[in-house]
């Protein structure tokens, strides 16, 4: 579904991504794990056109999307929940969700119902300004907003960041549920343990390079991973 080949991305002179290649097949959950600054978010930003790669290409559903304007990607079925959630803090919960369906207007009514079913807490707060939500609710809103476009591929950047352990469990349950309903997921996580648990396959990034790859299980068992990311 998504094929990334030889991405090289620079921030000024800093070589942030070095020959990154990987792929995501339909109905998979693929995780990119690695430490802070390894290039995980940079990879997602490059896929969604917020950053440009010097070389290589990104293919989504058979179409080269490496030169397409960022705002056109959502109509192709690619949704990106960015790091830090980036919901519209001054707009209401319902307005945030409507913005998610900006290119998918016919789906607003049905989509709102679907999102409120998944996240009943958002229904109670639908007319509240999003800035007043708790961190966990904001993450739910960010995921809900992305679902409003009915994406084929959902890219999640650190969905568990800054959340209490019980909320982390909830967020991962939601991801599993979305996956079981047919959404393909590309997940970026620092929380390697959780990510590997739900991922079909994973790639480990280190200083802008992919250093390891395997199924979630394999990597969770690997000594290197245990040492570096799972605390022993």
């Amino acid at each position: 579904m998504l094929k990334v080949e030889n991405l090289n991305v620079y921030y000024g002179k800093i070589h942030a991504l070095k020959d990154i290649s990987f792929d995501v097949k339909e109905h998979e959950i693929v995780a990119l794990i690695g430490a802070n600054g390894a290039g995980k978010s940079t990879t997602l930003k490059t896929i969604s056109g917020m950053l440009r790669s010097h070389t290589g290409s990104t293919t989504f559903c058979g179409e080269d999307i490496s030169r397409i304007d960022s705002y056109k990607l959502i109509t192709k079925g690619l949704a990106h929940v960015p790091e830090g959630r980036r919901i519209f803090l001054q707009m209401t919960v319902a307005e945030n969700l409507e913005m998610g369906a900006y290119t998918n207007g016919g789906y607003i009514k049905e989509g709102l119902e679907d999102v409120y079913n998944r996240f009943p807490r958002l229904l109670h707060r639908k007319n509240q300004i999003a800035g007043t939500l708790s961190g966990g609710e904001q993450q739910m809103l960010a995921i809900g907003r992305a679902l409003m476009s009915q994406p084929k591929l959902l890219m999640l950047d650190e969905p568990s960041m800054g959340l209490a352990p019980i909320l982390v469990e909830q967020i991962f349950d939601i991801i599993k549920e979305l996956h079981s309903q047919g959404t393909t997921v590309l997940l970026v996580e620092q929380n390697a343990g959780h990510a590997l648990e739900i991922a079909d396959r994973a790639y480990v990034l280190e200083s802008g390079r992919i250093v390891l790859t395997g199924t979630g299980e394999e990597l969770a068992e690997s000594e290197e991973i245990k040492k570096a990311y799972l605390g022993g």
Binding site: Y71, R86, F88, L89, M99, T103
Partner: protein
């Protein structure tokens, strides 16, 4: 008492003009995060385009008004496209200096075409004045107040209720996140410039009708005052621009009537300084602390 009410009404009327212009400043700032110092000169172009349409092309006034509004909207979009869009990623100082450059450019173009002499603004709005007790309110003042009120209501509904309006708020909050929703920031910025410049054209018609003479530098003073009004109300805030504009007009007229005509501008700016010292974000400007 008569003086008080007359001053209040002339203050409201002047304030309405400031508010219309301030809306352009504040919307552009909110969306594109830049101060468009050429905005005042769009008023001047709007006024000249009415003069040309009525005097030289013999258009009926109502048509001339709409032609002027459309022309300014288009001009705003073209200015943005040619001067500001290439600087989207440039430091804000470069954009600011470019805006000042565009301002001088428009003034010089006007001088080249119309000369430096002031031109008479045709009497395109002739409305009967209304007498309330002992106070006489001119037709043009009433029209200014009524039209501004309608524009403010429509604009507020547009921003809060329509898809394009909501997209504008989304872009103003977070451009990248808005793009991820499928909103084109470039198109949103163009729409903002079109609306802001159209409002400047409306202001120019009332300005011309009230002050009756236009010259190439006509736009700069109301432009600066409206910018002040936008900062006063909280730059980036639409209700702030409305409130700031109206208050500024009222303060100015009351200073003229009760204190001193020559000191009125000084008083206006002193009030601005005091407001900014007490509340740096302006009257309705808000700072939301982000959760990380």
């Amino acid at each position: 008492m008569i003086l008080f009410f007359q001053t209040l009404i002339s203050g409201l009327s002047l304030g309405s003009i400031y508010a219309l212009i301030a809306l352009g400043y504040t919307m552009v700032y909110g969306i594109a995060k830049m101060l468009n110092f050429a905005h005042g000169d769009v008023i001047m172009i709007g006024a000249y385009s009415v003069i040309v349409a009525v005097m030289q092309m013999n258009m009926p006034p109502i048509l001339a008004i709409f032609v002027s509004i459309a022309f300014c909207a288009l001009l705003g979009v073209i200015i943005e496209f040619l001067a500001y869009k290439p600087l989207r990623k440039a430091p804000s100082l470069a954009v600011l200096i470019t805006a000042i450059g565009v301002s001088y450019f428009l003034q010089n173009i006007a001088q080249l075409i119309f000369g430096t002499q002031q031109k008479f603004f045709p009497k395109i709005i002739s409305l009967p004045s209304v007498t309330l007790g002992t106070i006489e309110i001119s037709g043009i003042t009433l029209a200014t107040l009524a039209v501004t009120a309608i524009i403010m209501i429509v604009l507020t509904l547009f921003i809060n209720k329509t898809k394009v309006g909501k997209a504008m708020r989304a872009v103003s909050e977070d451009k990248e996140a808005a793009e991820l929703m499928g909103i084109s920031t470039n198109r949103t910025i163009s729409v903002t410039f079109a609306i802001g410049s159209a409002l400047a054209a409306v202001a120019s018609i009332f300005y011309g009708a009230t002050y009756t003479y236009i010259k190439p530098t006509t736009g700069s003073m109301p432009g600066i005052k409206a910018f002040t009004a936008a900062v006063f109300g909280g730059i980036g805030s639409i209700p702030g621009a409305m409130l700031g504009g109206i208050l500024l007009g009222i303060i100015e007229q009351f200073s003229k009537a009760y204190v001193s005509t020559t000191m009125s501008d000084a008083i206006v700016f002193a009030v601005l300084v005091i407001v900014l010292v007490v509340k740096p974000t302006g009257l309705l400007g808000k700072k939301i602390s982000e959760k990380v």
